[in-house]
């Protein structure tokens, strides 16, 4: 993935993650950062660094006021699960990939939820399931938009 498109994409998903569009959006929106990391991992020819993903998760935790380390470790676990099936997932068309995406997003949400349960009081909310389902449903559109963004992103000269 081109570096410029990668930075631009991260700015966009961090923005989308925190937009103040009311409680319904705040509870049900897909985890755009996790979706973007999945896209990055699938479109990249080399494996991503777990440590870099862990750092991105830590930044996410600090920016959004969550228990530090919860998103960091759950994003790393999600990536590890993806790498266990990556050859199979890459061969599938985007609309078939969405089942794997649902599973991976749910695993990430559960990982973060369990981490926060360890750190303090927490409640189970079905929004976790719905958010993962919405993320999976949006996956074909998400990949389409990011493919176009990558395609039209200006190449570095020289």
């Amino acid at each position: 993935m081109k570096a410029g498109a990668l930075v631009f994409g991260f700015v966009l998903v961090f923005l989308a993650e925190s937009l103040p569009l009311g409680p319904l959006y705040a509870q049900l929106h897909p985890d755009f950062i996790a979706l973007f990391i999945l896209y990055w991992a699938l479109s990249s020819s080399q494996p991503l660094s777990y440590f870099v993903i862990w750092l991105i998760g830590l930044v996410q935790d600090l920016i959004f006021g969550r228990v530090p380390g919860s998103d960091a470790i759950s994003l790393v676990l999600m990536l590890a699960l993806l790498y266990a099936w990556i050859a199979r997932v890459r061969r599938l068309p985007p609309w078939e990939q969405l089942f794997f995406i649902f599973f991976l997003l749910l695993a990430q949400s559960l990982g973060s939820w369990l981490w926060q349960a360890w750190a303090g009081p927490i409640v189970w909310h079905n929004a976790l399931l719905l958010s993962a389902a919405l993320g999976a449903a949006l996956w074909p559109l998400f990949t389409f938009v990011l493919d176009r963004l990558q395609h039209h992103w200006p190449r570095r000269k020289g």
Binding site: F14, L15, S18, L19, P20, L21, G22, P23, A26, Q27, S44, Q46, P47, L48, S49, Y50, F51, V52, W54, L58, V59, D61, L62, I63, F64, G65, R66, V67, P68, G69, S70, A72, I73, V76, L77, A80, Y83, S112, W113, W115, Q116, A119, G120, P121, I122, V123, H125, A127, L128
Partner: protein, 277 residues
């Protein structure tokens, strides 16, 4: 990116274990050093600024796109509301005088709730029982940790983290929120706790013979000195008595609509001494 540390030199499982240990370390460090969260909020400032710009643009666009019919209907409804409020205002001077007389009888002094400032929501985090919002005021405007936050209807929560230009408010419904309360017109102290749900709070440790009944209004008691007494918190929705439990389960509906927050009021409570001087 693949050249960064922890990509190849160690087997996957070992790398995962090291990162899990690092996460535990960071979590434990953040408990001992709350400043870490303040650093996070400061780092988020550019993002929150962008969010504010997007929110303003969205509001401006949606206002511009409103149809003439909608605006006329809204105008008619507002005129009607003004008439109702004018009628209600007629009784206000009488009530004010009565209130001052009653407070004098109780050896109390009427104090204004204090100075307020209007804030806008920049970001929301309403997942996993964590019910927090980020606003566009910070230490530059004198915001401090523990400061009461209000909205139309009553108390909505308190400031938990503050950076120069932003502050994070833990809503009443946050699982870590607990505010000293009492029934309106009564003196039985209680706590109003969050349950991770925007529409419901709870009052823990109430005996089966609790004086709280559905419809009882709860206000801040002023204990602890963080919230001025008498600010509306919520109304008791239900009181359930489980046969095997030692306590009654008291559910409370928040006075302010936490699910439709738009403008937030931050309160600098006026101390009694300051009010006298």
């Amino acid at each position: 990116m693949s050249g960064l540390p922890f990509t190849r030199p160690f087997p996957s499982l070992l790398r995962l274990l090291v990162l899990a240990a690092l996460s535990v370390g960071v979590s434990l460090y953040s408990v001992e050093h709350p400043n870490l969260r303040q650093v996070g909020l400061s780092a988020a400032e550019p993002l929150l600024w962008l969010n504010g710009q997007l929110r303003d643009a969205w509001q401006a666009t949606s206002q511009y796109l409103q149809s003439q019919t909608t605006l006329r209907q809204e105008n008619a409804a507002l005129r009607q509301r003004v008439h109702v409020l004018e009628m209600e205002n007629l009784a206000l001077p009488v009530l004010r005088t009565e209130n001052q007389q009653l407070l004098a009888l109780l050896d109390s002094f009427p104090t204004a709730p204090g100075r307020v400032a209007v804030a806008q929501i920049e970001a929301q985090n309403l997942r996993n029982g964590s019910q927090q919002i980020t606003i566009n005021l910070g230490t530059a405007e004198g915001v401090y940790v523990g400061q009461p936050a209000l909205a139309p209807g009553g108390v909505i929560g308190q400031v938990v983290t503050v950076s120069p230009n932003n502050a994070r408010i833990s809503l009443l419904s946050d699982l870590s929120s607990a505010i000293p309360a009492k029934p309106l017109g009564g003196n039985d102290p209680c706590l109003v706790e969050g349950r991770g749900n925007l529409h419901g709070l709870s009052v823990p440790f109430q005996p089966h013979a609790t004086p709280l009944v559905p419809g009882t209004e709860l206000v801040t008691s002023g204990l602890g000195g963080r919230f001025p007494p008498g600010l509306p918190l919520g109304v008791v929705k239900s009181v359930e008595h489980a046969s095997n439990g030692p306590f009654a389960q008291v559910l409370v509906r928040p006075s302010a609509n936490l699910a439709a927050l738009n403008t937030i009021l931050l309160l600098w409570p006026q101390t009694r001494n300051a009010a006298h001087s």
